[in-house]
């Protein structure tokens, strides 16, 4: 009866409680995932700082002294700064202009344009750089040959093996980052704000200049930093285009320090400034983009009216496709042509046509079969375990399962500030000595890729969890399912398309990775990107083209698969 203070307590049905009073049986899983993540991130970074600061005699700053007084190293830093600044500027100009045209004007063919920007995004920069050596190499480059044929000149029009050439190629594959960032902002800026300016008498272009541009300013600066960072950490493109001209960047210099005789300590010391610069820039970027009410102007925004380009539509469209032909059409065309011809520099006629490159690449050339096998194995294993770990971590942070769980976000996103080659230096130091010697096996690459792809997997998993009502899971827990079973039976199936997307992003990231792999591979653990890099030295253009085409084809198939699946999923649940 109510209000009784000493009710008669029956024990029927409650015998199982005492045994589990203190423990959540799933707790070890969550804490285990958290510890794994923290170790994954802290070990390589700790190793770099340690190797750069300690020698046999103890703590020393000698390595830093050596690095920062050496003229060659300083030159590499200087080159990197110049290149990255220019890449940042060019990428912002192109990316922002394209984003504006696609989101705010009545430019036709927006969907194909977005798809092509996406294609530039997916193209590994080292592959683009390689394609551009075929297009604009000073002697045999296709564009230079065309120029000579048309003008009769003896000179080359372009030489891609120069600093401007390198900047040009890197900008081509950095602008998609800026594009997606600015396009998001442009879609948020409501036309109301612009209308206000127009009522005051500004014309459309003046409005764009005085209202839209300032509103987009944080995103523009954020985009610049993103592109700058991207080029700071790239290894493939500078190695392919810069090294033949004797042009070193920080990343190629670190790589050079690993060649015989290896100077690990200097590589570590040289990695630290790159690491610190990246961290500082990300912090600045977060600060700029984090200012609320400014960067996400007007929330979901009101109606958007499109600027009419009028007669300008055709030239603008040509300009857009001009840019996209530089990043997609021309490189893809030359790769395909090289893959299908006996002599890549000759016109693709029936006489010159061959499938030999394919049979050679897949069946005859020593390294490729194994590399393809390794690449797919690493891609699948990393994507699967990476998605699993990212899912567990995102779950822990999202549900705040234990004290301090929120700080795991920091660790999961930490690799964003670690350039691939720096990560590789750290992992090399950690895993070439006991207790865990992974160097020489494929597993050191697995650890590198798992670490490097954690941010993308984590962000994807986290945003997926955010979209699932927590009560769906509470409902299964209260009727008998523990956390882990609830995650398996309820949350994971509902998160399926989001987690499949996470898997695919990691997979694509892994199969195109070069900058970490280049320091960590052993003869038996080569991957496709490393083989392409090696073949470059041997001048095996046909085989490179075949492998590059394969890499691109697989990436696009995976993306199409995800889109198909996500689309189908939406239809199936009808929500």
């Amino acid at each position: 009866m109510p209000a009784s203070q000493t009710g008669t307590f029956r024990r029927v049905g409650y015998t199982g409680w005492s045994a589990f009073r203190f423990k959540d049986p799933t707790f070890p899983v969550w804490i285990g995932a958290a510890i794994l993540l923290v170790f994954l991130m802290l070990l390589p970074l700790g190793a770099i700082f340690r190797a750069s600061l300690w020698d046999d005699t103890g703590l020393t700053l000698n390595r830093y002294f050596e690095v920062f007084t050496n003229e060659q190293f300083l030159k590499a830093i200087w080159n990197t700064l110049i290149i990255s600044t220019w890449v940042g500027v060019l990428a912002v100009m192109t990316g922002a202009l394209l984003a504006f045209l696609v989101t705010r004007t009545d430019l036709p063919w927006k969907k194909p344009i977005r798809a092509l920007v996406m294609a530039s995004f997916v193209t590994p920069p080292f592959l683009g750089a390689f394609a551009w050596t075929l297009l604009a190499g000073p002697n045999a480059g296709a564009l230079n040959k065309l120029y000579r044929a048309v003008t009769g000149s003896e000179e080359a029009l372009f030489n891609i093996f120069t600093m401007p050439g390198l900047i040009f190629v890197m900008a081509l594959y950095s602008f998609p980052f800026v594009f997606s960032m600015i396009a998001n902002v442009c879609e948020l800026i409501s036309s109301d704000l612009e209308d206000a300016a127009e009522i005051l008498g500004a014309n459309k272009w003046r409005t764009a200049w005085t209202v839209t541009l300032p509103l987009a300013m944080p995103a523009l600066i954020g985009g610049f930093i993103l592109a700058f960072l991207q080029s700071l950490s790239l290894f493939g493109a500078p190695a392919i285009l810069g090294l033949p001209a004797g042009l070193h960047t920080i990343t190629t210099q670190i790589w050079a320090l690993f060649q015989y005789p290896p100077r690990l300590d200097l590589a570590a010391a040289f990695s630290v400034p790159l690491l610190l610069a990246t961290m500082a820039l990300i912090a600045v970027q977060k600060k700029i983009l984090g200012r609320k009410g400014y960067s996400t102007v007007g929330g979901k925004g009101g109606q958007k009216r499109l600027i009419h380009l009028g007669l300008g539509r055709v030239p603008v469209l040509l300009f857009v496709f001009g840019i996209l032909s530089l990043s997609v059409f021309l490189p893809y065309w030359i790769l395909l042509k090289a893959a299908l011809s006996k002599a890549w520099a000759m016109p693709l006629t029936w006489d010159n046509f061959t499938l030999h490159n394919f049979s050679f690449a897949f069946f005859e050339y020593g390294d490729t079969q194994r590399a393809i096998y390794n690449t797919f194995k690493l891609g699948i294993v990393t994507a699967t375990l990476g998605t699993l770990l990212a899912t567990l971590i995102a779950y822990v942070t999202h549900r705040n399962l234990f004290r301090g769980a929120r700080y795991l976000t920091f660790f999961a996103l930490a690799p964003l500030v670690i350039p691939g080659i720096v990560l590789a230096v750290g992992l090399f130091i950690v895993y070439t000595r006991p207790p865990l010697v992974l160097y020489g096996t494929i597993w050191i690459l697995f650890v590198a890729f798992l670490t490097k792809e954690m941010p993308i997997g984590f962000s994807q998993a986290e945003s997926t969890f955010k979209s699932i009502h927590p009560e769906l899971e509470d409902a299964s827990r209260i009727i008998g399912a523990n956390r882990l079973i609830s995650l398996k039976d309820i949350t994971a199936p509902l998160a399926r398309s989001g987690l499949i997307a996470a898997w695919s992003f990691i997979f694509i990231g892994v199969i195109r990775e070069l900058s970490a792999a280049i320091l960590l591979f052993a003869p038996s653990s080569k991957v496709v990107s490393v083989v392409i890099f090696d073949l470059k030295e041997e001048g095996q253009v046909g085989v490179i083209a075949v492998l590059g085409t394969l890499m691109l084809a697989v990436s696009f198939l995976v993306i199409l698969g995800v889109q198909w699946f996500a689309g189908r999923d939406v239809v199936a649940t009808r929500e």
Partner: protein, 353 residues
Amino acid sequence: MANVSIRGLTKKFAEVAAVDDFHLEIGDGEFVSLLGPSGCGKTTTLRLLAGFLQPDGGEIRAAGEVISSPAHLVPPERRQMSMIFQSYAVWPHMTVAQNVAYGLKFKKLTKQEIEKKVTKLLGVVHLAELKDRYSAELSGGQQQRVALARALVVEPQILLMDEPLSNLDANLREEMRFEIRRLHDEYRYTTVYVTHDQSEAMTTADLIAVMNGGRIDQLGTPEDIYARPQSEFVARFIGASNVLKGTARDENHMSFAGATLRVTGAKLTAGQSAAVAIRQHDIEIATQAPASRENTIKATVTRQVYLGASRDYVVETADGNSLRVVTPTETAVDKGREVWLTLPSDRCRALDR
């Protein structure tokens, strides 16, 4: 079945107590409703009961065993409870039958037994025809029934409901109230039902706990709560009451607006300030002075609205107190007219707090 004993329960979020020294004893098979405005801590209390939250102080016992305390927490899945959620939380990737059968997975039952129980429960909530549908193909009311069946099929010791009807449209809500009560009468689970809707609480519950500021303000039967409010908060929150503030003359008289009102309820202390509640429809309005002058006050009509079934007045006494009065439609009094209000003494309830 099990009784539930909550003692000194406290839960803080960022140093603010959402539930503050909460005491409640719920008898075996009893249906208690936690009623209160949003932010009063009722949902937090329910989530503490379910084990989704761990208390910062106090304890919860079920059938005598401590299931929640700052040091102990039996996880939700081991509490032998069921819960019905505001969002229904019907799993969209399972059919109706799969939703209902899910909780039986964790009991040692054969396939036939599971099927039998599911079929029976689907019959009880009138969903047998729809057992192969997905939630996207169900109406709100049907989803609610799935949630009910899913919660009941596991034969819980305790059933928790978190505003289960608030997302339904008005007609359906009324129907489901009686449905919930019917199911309770059939199965007699110890039930805790959270709502902000007083008529919902009154139709369903044996006992209503009106909550305010993380505590129970008044606990009683629906009739207790409605007819005999003890505090100003309950008087205002439950039904439509005027709360008159004046000075006590003796234990059952109060001065108000130049008159002396005879009141019932709490004993007053002469000379102290006092508060008296009276419902809007218990006040009578007359344009002429009534024969008996007991408990009458003079006032002026400041607003009159015709609502179809009734008239809604705002009147003001000479000393500036405003009262709301609801009358039958026949007595139309224009704005600005002087009126006599009669406040029957058995309807004037002196409040403790």
